[in-house]
Structures are given as structure tokens and as C-alpha cells.
Homo-oligomer: 362 residues x 4
């Protein structure tokens, strides 16, 4: 079953294990004629990369993307685009412990139960290393969305543990290693995370993503709704335990008179809905948030069992990642971009001849 | 595009508009030999039905299910099962207002923008009437899951506005019209909802669903994860704005030492993960929660525009539904059951020969 | 698995058994705004209907199509279109023989082996009655193809037994019950078929279909080629044992200098390829032929086994159909139309912005 | 759209152009635990390879398969298996002519019309080089089918031009470069092909494939029939213009009393049906034949147009392949194996609990 493929019309199939020879993806259905070069993957891959700051984990990968197919003289041809990244930082290690016991909070036990076999090296297929290819594929998606529709997808860290931003500035997001929207808080955040690391523990986080410029009409009721597809896309990111669209869970205590976004020909009065009504984009910014659980690989020992069914203790050695949520920001952007391009194509397929419908709220 | 189909191997395709002649569904891929009769749909359809209590809206539908195909002498044959329900409560009304203006918070505007045409009668395809067929299809799914794997899927109302249960009892859930797990609070809840109705406003809600008995191994990394599929399934329910698995957004402030569920051969020490690790069931109860926005159809007028692009006011006439979240409970159960049977079949397809893997945590 | 659905973007899901209460289909992905009325199905359903002439079998069905959804005020809305036809000619019969033995050349044995249960009444799901819904769905496809692209899909009987047409005239095809392109041969054909019927035997046939007006560019390499999709679509018709595109099997003995269709700006010099190169339409007429085996239900007894594994003899009682190939003509048209509309939408999805490419051969 | 993927449960996605840096595939859904090593691809890739004999074209590729993922310690893990082959024989050439004109009988013109851009080097994506990955993927499929079900898939050249085998011997097939089943005819065949090559022309061919050991029950009515899926699979092979199941087009002139395969508990009396009834395998050998058109790249000039819309002449330089049909034999085997494993898994998904149904004809 093609469960390693994402998207119906802009279909991304990823492959590769954390410590295998390579990771890669095949993008099928990309519109032809889009200019793309291997150098364009650099920026987003760097944003996602582990080891990019001392606040996340310390694996060092060059992440050099090789375009194997689907691009001719710098333009997409409409045939499948294969991207390949060799794994280079697979230092020979003794995986004996990991191979013979199940780390709590990880997928070790469930892969073992499902398949009866697993690649234990660095988590194998369940490693977040796989998300590298999502970010790579989304570079192409983002470019098409921007060129063709003026869509821009951006994310930020909206909460880490108890800490929330006091101010919001998109410019700040790109200027600190936490994707944090409040520049003034960054020093305190560094202190917070360093203390966390020293404690040997980890903490959860919330990441938000916003797409500006999405035209009304994207999304397909009933089981291909834009919010439904965003939900699965974002939930598929490692460590994500929840997804919200617009106000999300805050709506539990809201009243209808507050939540419904009133309309006039000057625009919507608010955006509690997060830019989606009935599963279809409304023309407002599409907004989503996710929660990432605290990483389970910590310096504090945890009880588990081994392959023989005996009790054991599991502990992470060396540096650990005190908040996996931080580097989820570019991954969340990637997933939203992949959902949006897919729905742009799906909308064009069914309703290509509809054109602009009036009245259209700006 | 088959966006009105749900599930890859147990595929449910629904059709029908709120005030069209009928609603229905086609179930493709059901295992053969399952005993099923038309009378078995009654209980869950009644639980979902509008008009079942004076706390939800007042449409009265007989919801008589006709089995059109796929069942021979009381057993499924493996061919597609079509279920049909005639709409009977379509009293002739003047839909003039609804047809010419866009209700805030509804899908009127987005359907119009997407398709350039819409069926305005009762919300057309975007009406929650469609969810009747999900519940009907899930009756078959639930039965197979129970008979074949001992899986039981149950839901309850976990919060309405600011009100949360003080106690929890599964038996209570089935004995009040709110699916509320605390029998002692029911009178107060009635008072609360009546007051809400009199105010002409509505409120949000949270619904939780639990599946007991799910064996380890269901779910397909990376893009067919059990939690990813649950997320889209639950988000596809009308008015849902957020989905959580296990602890969900509470994990933002949790530490890794708290969240990761330690293991022993006596079982897991906790279930923060909600029974899913790496997208695959762990053998623990699978738990999910959703938030439903407050219904937008209220007695309080709202600003909008009409087809001519002129400002207008929209107001719901007659009785309204002060909390759409209540009747979402059986729908959420249905969606979880549909996801689970799909993954049961998917797991059997790929790993049918794996059998029970040791060590298995009870 | 959605194996009762056809098409990726214009998706038709059919349901129903030969002698169940009804047959029907759900069409998902139809472009919005297309005018369609229940009366438009009559012509093609009559062309396909059994009992329409004394040369085919004698079941009499009214085949009244009810549109259950997806159409509002006479136009498609973009939501799923459900069509329903009640089975009316299910005279109470004794199916005892059929239920307890396997007819040679039929699907009785294989359904039994696959599912462990089967609906034996009239062949159940394996009956050609199912093709009624393909023809119905294709009425909508044909109309859109004609209005939007000027595509016309037509079929004819190209051979029956040893008899081939001496002349070809599209006008003749519609004026005799055999879809035969040579009016002068019709009396002889009547004599031939009557003699065949009297002999109690049946014969094979060849049906050809041609689509004029297909623009270049439809079809998706490598596994969604136009000819590949036509092949599965046509092979899925009951009794079909072979599919050819263009010259088909005649190409075994052709030389390259003969087969390749040379080009000039005045057009292609020939159409051996059948309008498809590399899986993509060339702008020439798309041509395909199929072979239909002789019907297995004949008056001559055949050896088989019964449910108990004992030898038995199977014989068809009453009138039989001496050539099932005849009424396959409108079904083959339907399948080609369904393939073409699917690829029209798929091409628009990926390459909507390409427009007319020069040089274009007329 | 995932048109470069084949199979629903054993899903093979191929990528790569004839003269790009590499070709490859991703296999998703492979059952876990299957032993596989890189050396196992050698035999079938050699059988398919161009340049393996002087009777086919002269490209020399090492075709070294690298397993990039999905295999751990020599066994499949259930995660996607990526296979990569670097293109090594891309001698720097002047593709000026090919890039600026459209070869008759090739996909040059249609790719150009579809995408508005094309990779002209060696035919780009439309080259038969892509089929290398089908053969590679099928090595895994064949192994699983053999180990798990005792299925064996074999093909042979059944006709080349007017030449048909006088005798049939499976052993002979593997001992000559033509996959010809009559050893005595091989010298004459060499003479025939050499003469053809000298003439500068090419000829068509027929290839047959047989799968022994397929159990009854594989195949999914109505649109996932085993014969329907075989038809699209085989038609997707480059140059194929027709597909037959069992007797195929010979059935046009057959009578029902001859064609239907009578049954007894000793077996079927014949196999005109080719092992498939109603789209489901019957337990008899599954047989299919295809026709491959004569290659269009010949030494005889052909009329065409160039990018500017001017008339031009196209001629192949150097050695050409006088019959592309020969090396289609292992490719046809590969496609049948891929269809069969997909249906094995699909059958297990829906009917896994049916088991052996009685009476079963041996």
C-alpha cells in the first residue's frame, strides 16, 4: 500500500532509514516548466537540519540534494522528480542496546509488533530524518504556489513549555534559532533551554503555520477537505499529538456569536475559522497549530523491556534534543505547502472552468 | 476525484444533500460472510439523529435504511454494499433568503466560490445530514471489529463550554441525551443548555473517543499512520476545529520524563500517547479528542453579504441547536471505527503472515 | 478496496446485483455547472438494454434513472451524483440449480472460491446488468466531452463469428439492432443469428470504438497511459478477452516502415497507432477494438460440478443470447468516454497552464 | 497524480530518464521478512538488458542495483524499498536533430504537446530504459510469489513477423537470445533477423506469459479484475498495441460450446479463458499475450516536422533494433508478477479469513 506517498495529484513518495545509505523522494505530478535548481533546496534544508544550532541535536549531515530525474535544462518536465540525499554521518556505533530493547515513547515496540523485524539504527524509518525529504519536496511546492498564486507559507514556534511570545513579528522568526516571533525573549529562551538540557529532560512545544494568499475554493468535501488533509499531514510529523485549525480547541468555550466570522464586501471581520469553511478555503489566511510532545530520548533512565521480555532501563547517551518541537517549524510549513499545492491542482482539475466567482470578498 | 470516499480498503463513498431525495453510501471492500440486517442500523442512527432530544435541532427523519446490494441471505458477499435513506422531512420552505445570502460561519460562501453553483436547501452537501451515512457504514465496521478482534469503540461528551465532568462512568454515557459521563451533572447540564437556547446563542464542545482491544501493529508509516488517518477522519466531521491523540495539546507543557509511557511485561505504566507510537497502535486503548465549534446558526443576527455583493443580515428562524457538539459523539465513534477497520485490513494485507510477535506487552 | 470504482478524477462507483432491489452508481468529481436531466439517460440505456431486440436476451427492465444527488435545478453542483435504477423484472424463480452448481464459462466458481459465499440469482454481481450504470454514468461524461472539447465517441460491431462488414457507414450503425456498419448485410445477419439461436449455440464478436476530437496531450505516462487505462476499462466489460489499440495484433506482421505514422503539417499520413503515442493522445482519432467471447449460457448441456463436488450437467433454459458482443457496443463507448473525461481532468490538473503547444498537427 | 506508480498494495513507483543520471524505483507495501540481496537482480536484468545479444540494440549498461532502503540485514522490513541504477552509458552525443524534430511513431510529439517541454535525450522518460526498474521490482515480487504461493511466471516469444514456433519447450526458451520455445528454429530465426537488420527495417512480435500455481480467488470485480489489471499492466509496456487473455481474439470465431471450459473434479477440460473467470483467477494457469509494434527507429528515412513546423526527414543512425518485441519477454513477465502479488495482497486483505473453499477443482 502506498502509505509512504503523500498527496493525490502532487504525490511525494519518500524512502530511507536514518542510518541507511540514503534518503530520497519521488515527486509525481509536478506541473511542467517550473524552474528549479539543486541549490534552491539549501535554505529550507538548513532551517530543518539537526545540528544547525546547539539547541537541537548534534547530527551533522551535509544534506546535499541530487536531482536524479524530472528536470531538464533547469526546468521540470512533468515526469517524476527524484531527489536523493546520501547519509554521511553514520558513524559506526554499537547499536546493541537499542537493537535489543524498546525505548519508551519511541516506535521501537510498535514497529517490532507490526513487522516482526525492524531496523534499529537511529530509529530506522521512524526517525525524523525522513522529514528532510518533505522539506525538500516542499521547496518545489512553495515555489510553484508563490509563482502561480502568490501563496506564502510561514511557520513559527508559538509556545515551548510554559513560555509564550509576548510580541509577534514575522521578521524576528527568521533571525533566531528557535523560529521565535519575539526577538526580545530570545536570550531568556536560550537560558530556559540550556537549563532544560542540563536537567537531562525535555519539554513539549506548539508550532503555528500560516498560509497567506490562498484563494477561495481549495479543498474537497467531504473526505478531501482542506482541514482534513492538513490534519493528517501535520499529524504525520514525528512527535505531533494534536492539530488545530484556526482557534482550534479554544472554540470549546466560545459562543457562536463570537466564533462565526461575519462578512462584508470589505472582508471578514475575524478569522476564528482559520481560513477554512466546510473544508474549503475562504480566501482568508489558512492557519493551523500543532503540539509536539517532549522528546522521549532523555538522560533520565526509563523502564522498559528487552527482546527477551525482561525488564530493562533505557537512557540516552551523549547530547540530547531538549525540544524536538523547534525544528518542526519548517517541517510544518512543508506539510502545509504540500497540502496546498495538491488542492490547487485538484481544484483546477474539477473546477478549472469556473474562474473567479462573484461576489468575492477581498 | 474520489473525495467523497473514505478509507483505502474498507472504502465508504457517501452521497446526498440535506434536502435532496435521499442520502446513501456504498461500502466497498467489506469482508464477506458478516451477518448484517437492516434492523442493526437503528440504534446508532437513533443516537445520532437530530430531534432525538429537545436539546438538539428538531428535524424529524425516519432514517429507514434500505440495503440495496452486497448482502445475500443476511450475509455480506464481498461485493459493494449500498445503503439508502430517503429524506422525508423536507417540508416545502421558502429558501429564498438562504439561497441569496451567505450565512456567516457556514460553507455557503466557500461552496459558491469553489463551484460557482450551490444547492442552498438546508446547506446542501455541507449539511451534517451527510454524517448519517458515516454512522450507518460504521455499524458494519463496528460489528466486524468486535466479532473479529474484540474491539469496542465508545465516545462521550468531554466538555461543553466551561463545563467538564466531575466523575466518569461509561454506563452513565448511554443514559442521558448528552453522552455525558457524570450522571449527577445531567440536571445542571439541562439547565445550562436551556439557558443557552433562550439566549439565542450557542457554545462549543469537546468529544472524546476510546477504542479498546486494538491489537498492536495497526497503522502504516509514514503517510498512513493511524493517528494521521484518525486526524483527517475526525477533522472531516462538520464543525470540528481540532483533533488530539492521547494527551494532545496538554503535552506542550509536559516533560519527557512524564510523557513517555514506560513499559514492563505487566503493561504500560501510563497512556499519554493515546495508544499510538510512530503511527502504529501499541495495544493500549486508542484515545482521541475533538473540539466542535459553536454552531453558527443562531437567533442573533450576523452581518454578511448577498449574491449581489450587498450587505445583509442573517438570522436563524425557529428553534436552533445550541451545541452541535453533542450529537457529534456517535459520529466520532463512527469515524474511529472506519479508520480502525481500514487499518485492520491494511495490516492483514501487508503483514498477514507475521502473526503474534514476542514479547507482547499485555 | 475501492475495486468497484472507476476513474481517478471522474470517479464512478457502481453497486448492485442482477436480481437485487436496485443497481446504481455514484459519480464523484464531475465538473460543476453541466446541465443534465433524467430524460437524457434514456437513449443510451435503450441502446444497451437487453430485450431491445429479439436478437439479444429477453429481460425487460424499465431502467428508469432517478437522480438522487449532485444536481440542483438541472445542473451539476460538483458534489457526488448518485443514480439509481430499481430492478423490476425479477420474477420469482427457482434458482435452485444455479445456486447449487457452477455454470461453465461463468464466474460462479471463482466468486465462490474467492468469497466463500455468492449471490447466485442471475449471476449476482457478475451479471452484465452492472454495465447499465457504466452507460448511465457515461451519458454525463459524453455530454461534457462534447460540450467542452467537441469529442464524440462512437462504436460499432466489427465482426460476428466469421462475418465482417463489406462496407462502412456510421449512419448505418444507428439504424439496425446490431450496430452493424453495412446496411446491406443486415438481412443476412438476421438470418445468421436466428440460425445460431436455433442451434442452441453462441458465437464471439469484435466491437470497435472511435473517439474523434480528442486533443493531443491526454494520457499520463508511465502507469496512467491513455492506452493502458483504455485496456483495463475495456477488459473490465463482461466477456471481453482482448483489447487492441489502433492496428493491434495486426502489427505482429507489420514492418516499421509501414506502421509508424509519418507526419506533416497537413496531418498524419496514417493512423496505425490508434491516436496514441507513448501513452498520450496525438490528436488523431483514438481507436480501440475488443473481442467478446461467445456467451457460455447456451442450450447445449455442459459438464460441471455442484456444491457437493459431484459431477453435474448445466444447461440454459428458455431463450438465450446467441451473441453477447452485440450489446457490448454502447458499453465499450461508455468505457472509452469514462477514460477520456478522466484524462481530460487529469491533464488539466497537471498541465492546465500549458495551453496550445506549437507546432500542432491538425 | 501518481501515474508513475503501479499497484495498489504492492506499489512500485519508478523514476528516471534514458540519459539522466540514474533510474530507480520505490517499492511500497512489500511484506516484511523476505530475504533479498542485491545480487538477486542480476539474472532478470541481464535477460532484459539491451546489448545482451547482437540481435537487439547496442546500449551497454552495467545495471548495478543499489538497495537504498527497506532492507535490513538481508531481509525486507516492511518499509519502502528504494532501488537505484546509475546510467553509465550516456556517451556525450549531439542530440540536436532529435531535440528539434519529432520521430514518427515515437512519443516525441505527444510529450511535447502534453507538457510543452521534453527531455529529448534518448527519448527521455518514454524510453524503454524505464522498464529496467519494473524488472528489478518484479524480482522481489516473483520471489515472494514463489516462496509463499508456489507461483511461477514465465514468458516466451510467440511470434515474430510471420514466424511462429513449430514446437514448444520451456527449456528451449531460456537457451536462446530470442526467448524462442523451439530450439530447432533458432538458426533460421537468426538468419531472419539479420536479413531484417540489413534491410534497415523492423518487424512486430507477439509475446506470451504464463503464470502457473495461481490459486483461485485472486482478482477484484468489477474495476480491479485480474484480467483488467493485467491488460493495463501489459499495455503500459513500450510498443505494446494489444493484449489478450486466454484465447483472446481467436474467440471472435469460436462458439460457446467450444469456448466455455467445462469442469469436473479432475480439473477443467480446457483453458480457453486463460485462467480467469469474471475477473477472478480460477486456479488454472493464467495466460496472456501481447503484440509489440515494429520499432519506429529504423534506417529508412521517415517524413516528419521539426519544432518550427517545417517538414523534415528522420532517420536512425548506427545500429538499430529490428524487433523490440524480443526483449519485451522479461518485461511482460515482470508486469504479470507485479499484478499477481498486488492481487495476492488485496485478496488477503478482504478475504483473509475465507481460507480454502470447497469444492476446489485441482
Amino acid at each position: 500500500m502506498s502509505s509512504n506517498s503523500f498527496g493525490k495529484l502532487f504525490t511525494v513518495t519518500t524512502f530511507g532509514e536514518s542510518h541507511g545509505p540514503a534518503i530520497g523522494c519521488v515527486i509525481d505530478g509536478c506541473p511542467p516548466g517550473l524552474a528549479i535548481g539543486a541549490e534552491e533546496f539549501r535554505s529550507d534544508l538548513d532551517r530543518r537540519a539537526t545540528g544547525r544550532s546547539r539547541y537541537t541535536s548534534q547530527r551533522h549531515e551535509a544534506d546535499e540534494v541530487e536531482i536524479l530525474s524530472g528536470v531538464y535544462e533547469g526546468r521540470t518536465t512533468g515526469t517524476p522528480i527524484a531527489l536523493l540525499i546520501r547519509n554521511t554521518d553514520q558513524r559506526s556505533k554499537d547499536y546493541g542496546d537499542i537493537a535489543s530493547s524498546f525505548r519508551p515513547g519511541h516506535a521501537d515496540y510498535t514497529y517490532w509488533q507490526k513487522y516482526g523485524i525492524r531496523d534499529p539504527r537511529g530509529g530506522g524509518r521512524s526517525s525524523a530524518r525522513e522529514t528532510t525529504m518533505r522539506v525538500a519536496a516542499a521547496v518545489i511546492a512553495k515555489k510553484w504556489l508563490a509563482e502561480r498564486h502568490g501563496v506564502r507559507v510561514r511557520g513559527y514556534l508559538a509556545q515551548i513549555g510554559e513560555v509564550v511570545p509576548d510580541a509577534f513579528d514575522w521578521d524576528a522568526v527568521g533571525q533566531n534559532p528557535f523560529f521565535w516571533p519575539d526577538a526580545g525573549q530570545v536570550p531568556a529562551l536560550e537560558t530556559y533551554i540550556n537549563a532544560l538540557r542540563k536537567s537531562g529532560d525535555s519539554v513539549g512545544a506548539r508550532v503555528s503555520v500560516v498560509a497567506d494568499g490562498v484563494p477561495p475554493g481549495w479543498g474537497e468535501p467531504i473526505y478531501g477537505k482542506l482541514d482534513g488533509d492538513l490534519a493528517s499531514a501535520l499529524m504525520s510529523i514525528n512527535a505531533v499529538k494534536g492539530v488545530e485549525i484556526g482557534d482550534g480547541f479554544a472554540a470549546v468555550v466560545q459562543h457562536g456569536s463570537e466564533h462565526r466570522d461575519e462578512m462584508s464586501m470589505d472582508g471578514f471581520a475575524s478569522n476564528h475559522a482559520g481560513g477554512i469553511l466546510g473544508g474549503i478555503s475562504s480566501g482568508q489566511p489558512v492557519t493551523a497549530s500543532i503540539v509536539l510532545k517532549p522528546t522521549s530520548s532523555i538522560l533520565i533512565p526509563g523502564h522498559s523491556v528487552n527482546l527477551a521480555g525482561e525488564p530493562t532501563e533505557v537512557v540516552t547517551k551523549g547530547r540530547h534534543d531538549p525540544c524536538v518541537g523547534i525544528r518542526a517549524t519548517p517541517i510544518a510549513e512543508a506539510m502545509m505547502a504540500l497540502v496546498l499545492i495538491d488542492h490547487a491542482l485538484r481544484h483546477r482539475a474539477q473546477c478549472g472552468d469556473v474562474g473567479v466567482v462573484t461576489p468575492r470578498i477581498p
